[in-house]
């Protein structure tokens, strides 16, 4: 009985939070299926009376959403892979070494995050133009890295700090190099942190709109957030198509979460160490 009381409210809380998290997304899905006349109604319909399933193939084909998703995938994956490599190393160094400049470096790294992107857009555009990278995947990947790596370094440093030194010392006594110890001992334990950073970097590349808008003009190169605009006209928006595109756009992320979940949510705890 006490179990029910103790656990019961937790289940209720889980339900409530899930509803809160999912409802807007559910709304997007059903709006994508509603015919135009049903979208603007006084009493919200919780289920479309006449689901417009053909919205999806239409949007993928005619609307070139498929191509845009591919572009987004390339940019996001590139950002994620490079971000992990660079920031894992940097975070390790900052965590393990009492580099005197650590605090200053950390603050510098924060500073890069402190300006609203709108203010930085024009100089970034000029930089990319001079580098000859305008309109390429690299212009986006490099810029996303510049903004995601600092954050990644911080997050991973936090994780690495909470992994005791003894583990690495033990490994090195057993003959491993510093890098070997890093790879074989620290990284697995920091897996949740790495997974989190990976998702973060991927999402940065996947979600970003303003820089993609600024650097990319050619239709073939547009990423998914840009392609949404195809359905937004002069004051008249095709909401069904916008929502359908949004659903298609969210699906790969759901897949990513499901795949990464094992690393995100379960951890090999430091119970591997005795004492």
């Amino acid at each position: 009985m006490r179990w029910l009381l103790k656990r019961g409210w937790m289940y209720a809380a889980m339900l409530a939070v899930s509803a809160f998290a999912l409802f807007p997304i559910y709304w997007v899905v059903i709006t994508s299926l509603k015919p135009r006349s049903e979208i603007y109604t006084r009493t919200p319909d919780l289920w479309p009376s006449d689901p417009q399933w053909d919205q999806y193939p239409r949007v993928l084909g005619e609307g070139h959403v498929g191509r845009a998703l591919l572009n987004s995938l390339i940019v996001a994956s590139g950002t994620m892979v490079i971000c992990i490599l660079v920031s894992a190393l940097a975070a390790y160094v900052l965590a393990r070494y009492r580099v005197r400049l650590t605090r200053i470096l950390l603050v510098l790294v924060l500073i890069t995050q402190m300006f609203p992107l709108v203010v930085l857009v024009i100089p970034l555009f000029v930089t990319m133009r001079k580098a000859g990278l305008l309109g390429t995947y690299w212009s986006l990947i490099i810029t996303y890295l510049a903004f995601s790596v600092p954050l990644a370094i911080w997050v991973m440093r936090g994780f690495i700090l909470s992994i005791p030194d003894e583990l690495e010392h033990a490994a090195r006594i057993d003959g491993a190099t510093r890098l070997g110890a890093l790879v074989r001992v620290v990284l697995p334990l920091a897996a949740p942190g790495i997974a989190t950073t990976a998702v973060l970097a991927f999402l940065e590349g996947w979600k970003e709109f303003l820089l993609a808008l600024t650097f990319i003009n050619k239709e073939e190169m547009k990423t998914a957030p840009l392609i949404l605009q195809t359905f937004v006209g002069r004051g008249d928006t095709d909401w069904g198509a916008v929502m359908a595109t949004s659903v298609l756009y969210t699906l790969p992320i759901v897949l990513l979460f499901v795949l990464a979940r094992k690393h995100l949510m379960t951890a090999r705890t430091a119970g591997a160490v005795k004492g």
Binding site: R36, S37, E62, I122, F125, V126, K218, T230, G233, D238
Partner: protein
């Protein structure tokens, strides 16, 4: 596929040449018809028209043009409306601009003033909608060719006005009377008008209708003309609908699409909207088509029922590497038949007089008021280089909203606006 488009393009060209063969000599038509000297590639920025279908219409222009001029390449790139102004700024400041672009009429003077645009020479009398040519004029030079245009007129529910026992209003007094009658007699939560707090194109033209001006030019400088009794009267009139409960409570924070939605849902009886709004409403609720009537914007005390003529220009950039090709493509797009393919899709009117005549609007009783409004009763905002900025910063909305909410008098509002405008014009 290529053979097919070549054939189509060839037929079209033949038709076009035949159609305007007897007309006045357009140097650009000569170029399009026979010149083999066009070459190279250009990039063209067009605002997102709102659907892949209409995008294809525009892309077809490129295909047809390329077919007619082998060896040329036209790259159409779509730009979202909401961010287009920023993209232009970034492109110009960043040093990489397209060759040709669709530009909002209120932005053309701003960018022309920076020396970013090419002066357009071949603007003949009576060729284009005159208000739009004014909008592209800076220091007596024209920097853009009107591509498409639209003016807002009155859209109303015939059945609701009948129920209220009133005729469609033709002037301010009738408008107020009709609104009151509707509010009283129709009921069912229906409000009379959808005058919103955030729609510049609904409230600013009332100033013209009252006989006032928004700004005047003295030599090189512009000065606000809002601090006038006419302007105050206009704003007072506009806000009085909201204050007297003749508009929905939320309208103070509405934008134009919100008002259109409300009309489509039968929540308001009268609306100021353009042909594109009309198309949108019918597309959303087809059953409304027979219940809607259209008329010219009600005239103010000055006798003028002026509406704002909005639209886009086609401009060329100074930094373009291939101005000749750009000019040729622009003229191709402006041919009446080509033009109407696009404008009929988006619910606007062509910016050329020939285009309007070919559009069929003047023969369609439902759509005729929009064409008339544009041709005879429309005006543009002061074509000052600073106007784009004023619009972008939404200086006007806040004051209008305050008047609607009774936090300010119309007098105070226009005074505040006049001083803000002058500040911007000067600095």
């Amino acid at each position: 596929m290529r053979k097919f488009s070549v054939t189509v393009a060839g037929l079209l060209l033949a038709a076009v040449v035949a159609a305007c063969g007897g007309g006045d000599d357009e140097p650009s038509a000569d170029k399009a018809a026979g010149s083999g000297s066009l070459e190279g590639s250009i990039s063209v920025w067009i605002m997102d028209p709102g659907s892949p279908k209409i995008q294809d219409v525009v892309k077809q222009y490129a295909t047809d043009f390329e077919a007619a001029h082998p060896g040329t390449q036209v790259d159409i790139q779509f730009v979202p409306w909401a961010q287009a102004h920023d993209k232009f700024v970034t492109a110009i400041a960043g040093g990489e601009v397209p060759d040709v672009a669709e530009m909002g009429t209120t932005w053309t003077p701003e960018f022309a003033d920076q020396g970013a645009l090419v002066e357009q020479q071949a603007i003949g009398e009576g060729q284009y909608v005159s208000s739009l040519v004014d909008a592209a004029t800076l220091n007596d030079k024209v920097y853009g060719k009107p591509w498409y245009a639209g003016a807002r007129a009155l859209i109303y529910r015939k059945d609701l006005l009948e129920k209220a026992g009133v005729e469609p209003p033709t002037n301010w007094d009738e408008l107020m009377a009709a609104a009151k009658a509707v509010e009283e007699k129709v009921g069912g939560g229906v409000d009379a008008v959808g005058f919103t707090g955030l729609s510049e194109h609904m409230y600013l033209p009332t100033i013209w209708q009252a006989g006032g001006e928004i700004a005047t030019q003295d030599g090189d400088t512009w000065k606000s003309a809002l601090n006038s009794p006419e302007a105050a009267q206009a704003i007072d009139f506009y806000a009085s609908f909201y204050k007297q409960g003749l508009s929905p409570k939320a309208a103070v924070g509405w934008e134009e699409p919100d008002a259109q939605t409300a009309f489509a849902n039968g929540d308001i009886a009268m609306l100021i909207a353009g042909g594109w709004g009309y198309n949108s409403i019918i597309a959303t609720k087809p059953e409304l088509e027979e219940k809607i009537g259209t008329a010219l914007t009600p005239a103010g005390p000055s006798g003028k029922g002026t509406a704002f003529a909005g639209g886009s220009h086609l401009v060329q950039f100074q930094e373009s590497q291939n101005k000749e090709l750009g000019a040729a493509f622009v003229d191709f797009m402006l041919e009446p038949e080509q033009l109407n393919k696009f404008t009929s899709e988006i619910g606007f009117l062509p910016g050329t007089v020939d285009g309007i005549k070919a559009s069929g609007y003047l023969e369609d009783p439902q759509r005729k008021p929009f064409a008339e409004q544009l041709l005879d009763h429309s005006a543009v905002y002061p074509p000052s280089p600073k106007w784009g900025g004023l619009e972008g910063a939404n200086i006007f909305d806040g004051e209008i909203q305050k008047v609607m909410k009774g936090q300010e008098t119309a007098q105070e509002a226009v005074q505040n606006l006049a001083s803000k405008m002058d500040e911007e014009f000067a600095g």
